[in-house]
Symmetry: D2
Subunit: 211 residues, 4 copies
Amino acid sequence: MNVIKEWKTLLIPYEQAVEELKVKFKAIRNQYRELNEYSPIEFAMGRVKKISSIIEKAERRSIPMEQLEEQMEDIAGIRIMCQFVDDIYEVVNLIRERSGKDFTVLYEKDYIKNPKDSGYKSYHIIIKYPVQTALGTKEILAELQIRTLAMNFWATIEHSLNYKYKSHIPDGIIERLKNSAIAATRLDEEMMEISREVVNAQLMFEEKSNT
Amino acid sequence: MNVIKEWKTLLIPYEQAVEELKVKFKAIRNQYRELNEYSPIEFAMGRVKKISSIIEKAERRSIPMEQLEEQMEDIAGIRIMCQFVDDIYEVVNLIRERSGKDFTVLYEKDYIKNPKDSGYKSYHIIIKYPVQTALGTKEILAELQIRTLAMNFWATIEHSLNYKYKSHIPDGIIERLKNSAIAATRLDEEMMEISREVVNAQLMFEEKSNT
Amino acid sequence: MNVIKEWKTLLIPYEQAVEELKVKFKAIRNQYRELNEYSPIEFAMGRVKKISSIIEKAERRSIPMEQLEEQMEDIAGIRIMCQFVDDIYEVVNLIRERSGKDFTVLYEKDYIKNPKDSGYKSYHIIIKYPVQTALGTKEILAELQIRTLAMNFWATIEHSLNYKYKSHIPDGIIERLKNSAIAATRLDEEMMEISREVVNAQLMFEEKSNT
Amino acid sequence: MNVIKEWKTLLIPYEQAVEELKVKFKAIRNQYRELNEYSPIEFAMGRVKKISSIIEKAERRSIPMEQLEEQMEDIAGIRIMCQFVDDIYEVVNLIRERSGKDFTVLYEKDYIKNPKDSGYKSYHIIIKYPVQTALGTKEILAELQIRTLAMNFWATIEHSLNYKYKSHIPDGIIERLKNSAIAATRLDEEMMEISREVVNAQLMFEEKSNT
């Protein structure tokens, strides 16, 4: 078996898992809307890590290739976006309640209450997910990242800069990134102030649109 | 709870199941292609039965509304299309092997070896499928229909006519439908004659396209 | 012709136009990426105004139904999201250069340099767009809204509140909305500070991903 | 500019054109359905020719690379599927009527009245289509193939075999292909016999589904 086929064989269950998990989290939002209830999920998206990024991360963390499946938790990644910070914790509860059914929660990291030094904020949950593929049954790890739209905007920018500077961002830019993280948090706080008003408004809106 | 909300609550798990099953069967095809192997599945599609059709069928078969979930097997329907008749039986095997994993096979009906009087041909498998929704866990029934492209063409036409004549198609048209069923079977037989050649050809094609 | 059919006949060209314009603006982004150049468009989406909203707006502005097509400019709406404020003006230039080709620019409103009292910011361009449908040829009006992610977040929230309070938002909430508009602008300013760094970073990223 | 970028620059307008034309032909079908009228288009799909196939065809036909855009008509290809043979000619009329509006018909080839020796049947129309891309304005050629489902089934099989045998299919298989072409034509004829019944039935079906 050549290298390309080996990579394909490795990644097929992850691609399958990402497709299934996207359907599952997008459905939650649609179901709330159909029932005229406020959805804590604004939208969901997913991706399988690029081969080049897997290799790079494996080298950086000294993960041997044959232990990728046990030690790299974000080959399959699902991102769930929320309107308000409070919604994030509601989504976390939804996910916890589902543990033991179609997936199992392994552990959680709350980078909102404990942001990274860089300013990075998000709630991470690592799950174990069983998939059936043309190659048979497999249990894979997946990372769920739950964040507000402002946190996501900031994280996308930071990701680009980390890539550019190979994780050695110059001090001046690190300073600016921290300032923008503060501005993003400030926006989330202001939004939280009017969130209760908005949640009710959006419910009324859904109801009317259905008629 | 009003009637519309009751129907929505009933159908949400079926909609979710159809979305998930579509992803699963489409993935099988993509996985074979990625691995440069011939896929017995040409494509897959799905639908939830319309409310008006559910009511009509319930009346016709005297199914009380509160027993819909146990007695109506095709509220969730998945259609799997194959190039050749032999592929159908390969797909049936794939599905049987998966029973007890992400779904359970309840029973099968082989309308290819035993076509209906009308001329209808297809292989049906009824499965039990567990879904998680915003409303909790649920096990639903789903019908998998596996057929060739020619069988599908014919079945679509017959479905339209049955609808038009409320299942009382005039004799003259019944006769013509039978003739076209014979023509469809003849096409499938001719295609089977060259199928082995084609399967190899398509494998070569996939391989080259990847380079 | 009944009322439902009349509405359908009115809206079909708008639906068609929105589909075509979405394809066109999404394509611009993909083309920049394929050529390893920075795309000023982050993503694009579109919608046709709901019938209930058209009626409501027609009443509010005293537009007679038979003048809808000439006087209501946002029945077809396209929203173009940018990472940075500067990108908005680059997109505006792209659109101006295309005037007279597949569409014609009628006029522009710069609510970024001149925000509305509420705090609303966006750049609007009204275009005339020719469509061919099953019903024949038609020239329709469409509104292009170009904004940053932070402007969009804020505008979505304001829209919900306007809906809830039928455009009579209580003073206390108006105050809070203004505060959050300031926070959104602050985030956009901080992001602009690092935008040049990010643009270069994203270009490098694209280039590597392609190999 | 390297070779990969040259190919990308060549193909971007074709990709754009295929996306736009797919939207346009799919819309026709949806519009008929919305208006409760029978649609002669069953579905539409499109593709840009693979680079390897372009090179191969250019060599086979001695087309110099710098004349690709004028001499190769099927780099952009749209396939329109119909239920019945009569529908094909209705679609042809629709396309002719649109000439001079969003595209221009250059010429037509009726391989249904005059099938190829191999048994191949389809109606081809070559059009000139103007596109706007990030690279500017361009007029490209596109091939529209209009066929029934049975013609398409056969053509897909023949394409695979031609690929396998590099256009030198052994005599025995050529014979079998011809037999299956006859079976496909027979199926289309039988279907035509009941087509008027079906068209009416599908109209009634649409109408009821909308209520």
